[in-house]
Symmetry: C2
Subunit: 380 residues, 2 copies
C-alpha cells in the first residue's frame, strides 16, 4: 500500500455494529481514519468514526459509492454486496478479506464444497434446491437443514427430526447436514497477512444458549487435551492458507464424542469467540485484524490469564429502550470488564454487550462469570 | 445522579487531547455520550465523540455555554475557566473534579499553601509577586522559580543559580522553591468517588527528558523499598481525602537521597504517569476516573505484569505533518503496545503518542523499551 497505515490511510468498514465499534477502539491507537456504512442510523459506531454513512450493505450502488476513494475496505458482517466489492477491487481499492472469500463464505453450500475439495474434516452434507429434495436425501434423519444464504446467529437453521417435519422445512436452496453428536463446540481464530504470515489464537470452548443458538459462555485457554488443541490449530491454519485469506478468520468446529474435529462454519472477520482476547491475550483479535489487513507483523496471541466471556443478551420478553440492571454490582468484582455496545433498543436475545472475567484462578474466573450471568440483565 | 452513567447521561470533557481520547476509548465500553470542547479544530478527539465543539477553554461564555444542559463535566487539562464551572455547578451540573479543586491546583502558590496547611511534606517555598522579591528571599541559591499560573510540562519553570541570573527570572507572581537534590521522581495516582472510597495505583518511578522536562520513561511496579511505597501511598490518599476530590488525582513526588518523600505537584485528572495502566494493571486509570466520577465501586489497581511506558515525543528539529518511523519494527516485538494520539502536526518534544511495553521478565521489559526508544521516531 502506498500510504502508511497510520495517518492518511482511509479505511472503510462495512457494518457499524459492535465488531466495528471494538475495531475502532483499537484503530484509535494507530490514527486510522475510519469510514462506516450501516443501514441503522443508530448503529453503535455512528459517533465514533471520521464518516458515518447510513445505507444498505446489500445494495450495489450504495456499497460502491461508499468504497470509491477509500484506500482499503474491510467488513464486520459477511452479508454485503460482493459485486460492488469486486468492482472496487478491480479499480484498486484493497478489500480484505478478499471479495472472492466473502462470496464463498456467504454461501454455506460453497463453504461445504470448499471443505470437501480441500480435505477439511466436516459433517456429511448434501446441497438441495427445494424442500422437495429432502424426501430423497441420503443423509439419515434426524438432520440439520441450513439455508445456503443469509442465515446468521442461529437464524436459517432447522433440525428436521422425521419425514413429517419436512413440511415445515425451508423452501429455499439449502444444505442438509448430518446431525453431529458433539461433545463441545470449539473455535480457533486465525490471522493471515499478505506476506503469508499465519498466526492462531489459543483454542476456546463455547457454550451456546439453546433457545437463541448464540454463544453464551466461552472459556480461554482451553483445558482440552494437547492433541485436540494441536489438531484444531492445524485445521485453522490450513484453511487460512487454502483460502489465502488476508485478515482474521474464525473457524468454528465441533469436537465429537469420539474426539474427532469437524469444521462447522467460517467467519472472515473478528468474531464473538474472540472477544475475551481484549483482556485475556497479549494481542486482541481486533488488533490482530488490523495488523493482518495492514500487512504488519502479526502479534503474539498468548493468553495472559484465564478469561471467561459471556454475552449480554436482551432478556426474553423485553423490547424497547434498553435498561441495564446490575452493572454497578458486577463492577465491584475484581477482573470484571464490561463492554456495552451502544445499542439504544433491546429485544429478546439481542447482543447488547459482553463481559470478560479474568482471573489467574480458573475456577474463580468461572464462578465469577456464572455470578455475573445471574446479576447482569438488559431489560426495557 | 438521576441518570444511569450508561445510556442517557451526557458527559462533557474540557479538552480534546490524548487524555480525552483515551478516556473516550474506555467510555465507549459504557455507552457514555461524550461532548468535547477544545480550541484546536484538529484535536485528537474531534471524530470520536457525540459532539465536538471548537472553542476556548479559558473563555467564560464558551465554557458556560458548552456545559449548560450537560449532566456532568470533567477535565483533561487544568487550564480552564473555573468561574464558568462554578456557575454550572451552582446550576446543578455535576463538575468532577470540583471547581474549587481545579482553582486550587491552577495556582501553584495555593497548592503549596494547601500542602503546608495540611502537613503534607513538600520542599520549602516562598511566594513572590515580582522578580524584585527574589533579591530578598530566604530560600538559598540555587533555587527553582515557578510561575504560579499557566505552567505545564516543564514550561514556566526556571532554575536560578546565582544573583546575577535574577535578571532573567520570570516577572509574574511566582513561587520560589528550594532545589531538591532528589534520587528519583515518583508518582502515585489516587482515585476517590463521592461515597468516599479511595484507591491508589501502585507507585511508579519516572525518568525525565532533561531537555524537555517531560516524562520519558516510567516503570511499574516499582522496586523501591516497601516503606517508601507505603509512605507515598499514604500521602496520596491523605491528599485525596483532605481535598475531598471526586475523580483521579496524580500526585508527583520527589524521593530525596535521604529517603524523604516531598510532594511536588498535583494533577486532578488522568495523567502521563498512569498510561501504562491500560495494559499493565487490572483497571486502567481511564476506567478508574470514570468509575470515580460516576460514583461506582473503584476497580482493582493491581499490576498484571511489569509495564514500561515511554512517551513518543516529536524529534528535535522536525516540525510539520507528522511522519512515524519504526512503527512496523516495534510491532514485531511481543508485548509492545503503540498508542498514537491522532495529532496531525509534530514539533520538537510534542507528545505524539506513547508506547507500553509489558513483560513478565522485568529486565526484558526494560531492554525492549530502551530498544523501542531507539527505533521509533516522529519526524516531519
Amino acid at each position: 500500500m502506498a500510504k502508511d497505515f497510520y495517518g492518511e490511510l482511509q479505511l472503510g468498514i462495512l457494518g457499524g455494529g459492535q465488531l466495528g465499534r471494538m475495531l475502532i477502539q483499537e484503530a484509535i491507537n494507530y490514527n486510522v481514519n475510519v469510514h462506516i456504512l450501516d443501514p441503522d442510523k443508530n448503529a453503535p459506531c455512528r459517533k465514533l468514526c471520521n464518516r458515518f454513512e447510513c445505507g444498505s450493505l446489500s445494495d450495489f450502488e450504495t456499497v460502491y459509492n461508499f468504497g470509491k476513494g477509500l484506500d482499503m475496505i474491510t467488513i464486520e458482517i459477511e452479508k454485503v454486496n460482493v459485486d460492488a466489492l469486486e468492482k472496487l477491487e478491480n479499480e484498486g481499492v484493497v478489500v480484505y478479506p478478499q471479495s472472492r472469500i466473502i462470496r464463498l463464505i456467504q454461501d454455506k453450500g460453497l463453504q461445504k464444497q470448499f471443505f470437501k475439495q480441500n480435505d477439511i474434516p466436516t459433517a456429511a452434507f448434501q446441497l438441495i434446491s427445494t424442500k422437495e429434495n429432502l424426501y430423497e436425501t441420503a443423509i439419515p434423519l434426524p438432520y440439520i437443514q441450513k439455508l445456503r444464504k443469509d442465515g446468521y446467529d442461529g437464524k436459517g437453521v432447522k433440525k428436521i427430526n422425521s419425514t413429517t417435519e419436512i413440511e415445515q422445512a425451508f423452501e429455499s436452496p439449502s444444505l442438509v447436514e448430518e446431525l453431529v453428536d458433539f461433545e463441545k463446540e470449539i473455535a480457533v481464530i486465525v490471522a493471515r497477512n499478505d506476506k503469508g504470515d499465519v498466526s492462531t489464537f489459543p483454542l476456546v470452548e463455547m457454550e451456546f444458549n439453546p433457545e437463541a443458538n448464540l454463544v453464551e459462555f466461552l472459556i480461554s485457554p482451553s483445558t482440552l487435551p494437547f492433541e485436540v488443541q494441536t489438531r484444531a490449530d492445524e485445521i485453522a491454519k490450513k484453511i487460512a492458507e487454502d483460502l489465502q485469506i488476508v485478515g482474521l478468520l474464525a473457524v468454528e468446529m465441533f469436537l465429537t464424542k469420539e474426539g474427532e474435529i469437524l469444521v462447522n462454519e467460517l467467519a472472515p472477520r473478528p468474531h464473538n469467540s474472540g472477544h475475551h482476547t481484549i483482556e485475556g491475550n497479549i494481542t486482541s483479535q481486533f488488533a490482530q485484524h488490523l495488523r493482518a489487513i495492514f500487512n504488519l507483523p502479526l502479534g503474539a496471541t498468548t493468553a495472559r490469564t484465564n478469561a471467561v466471556m459471556i454475552n449480554l443478551l436482551g432478556e426474553p420478553r423485553y423490547e424497547g429502550l434498553a435498561k441495564y440492571e446490575g452493572v454497578e454490582d458486577v463492577l465491584a468484582v475484581e477482573g470484571v470488564f464490561v463492554h456495552l455496545y451502544g445499542k439504544k433498543y433491546t429485544k429478546p436475545f439481542r447482543k447488547m454487550g459482553h463481559i470478560c472475567i479474568v482471573n489467574d484462578d480458573r475456577e474463580l474466573a468461572i464462578k465469577n462469570a456464572r455470578w455475573v450471568q445471574e446479576i447482569l440483565k438488559v431489560k426495557a
